[in-house]
Assembly symmetry: C2
């Protein structure tokens, strides 16, 4: 029974931070060493990233992964 | 170039919390709806869990995922 709540919220958090930094999806993908289309899938909640990938993305966003996860856990992470 | 630092540290954090709760690997696996052998692989840093799986495990450990990740990020998470 897949529970996708955290992934959907995490994708929204990624998008918010990426936009704040003025990064394109492609630029963030390059920083995080993932496929150029992956960030878009993630931001739409269509992928549940592995912890290692999530950590690389957090570094690309200059933010600790625990902070991104914490924001994704907040009751209202619709941004 | 896989960077496994966070996964190895996360595995150690999982093990610490699991033992504090007096749960077997199998009992935690059942709570998190993962294969019985998966927790052992995770604790040894041999798997990088997806965010959804990590979230289910955190619920099995009655701890927020952001807290577990934060502990895994700490410079010295060797326990």
């Amino acid at each position: 029974m897949p529970e996708r709540g955290i992934s959907i919220a995490f994708g929204q958090v990624i998008k918010k931070h990426r936009k704040e930094l003025g990064l394109s999806q492609e630029a963030l993908a390059e920083k995080a060493d993932v496929h150029p289309t992956y960030i878009g899938l993630l931001e739409r909640g269509l992928r549940s990233p592995g912890l290692d990938v999530a950590d690389r993305i957090s570094k690309g966003l200059k933010t600790r992964l625990s902070k991104l996860v914490s924001e994704a856990e907040s009751p209202r992470s619709k941004l």
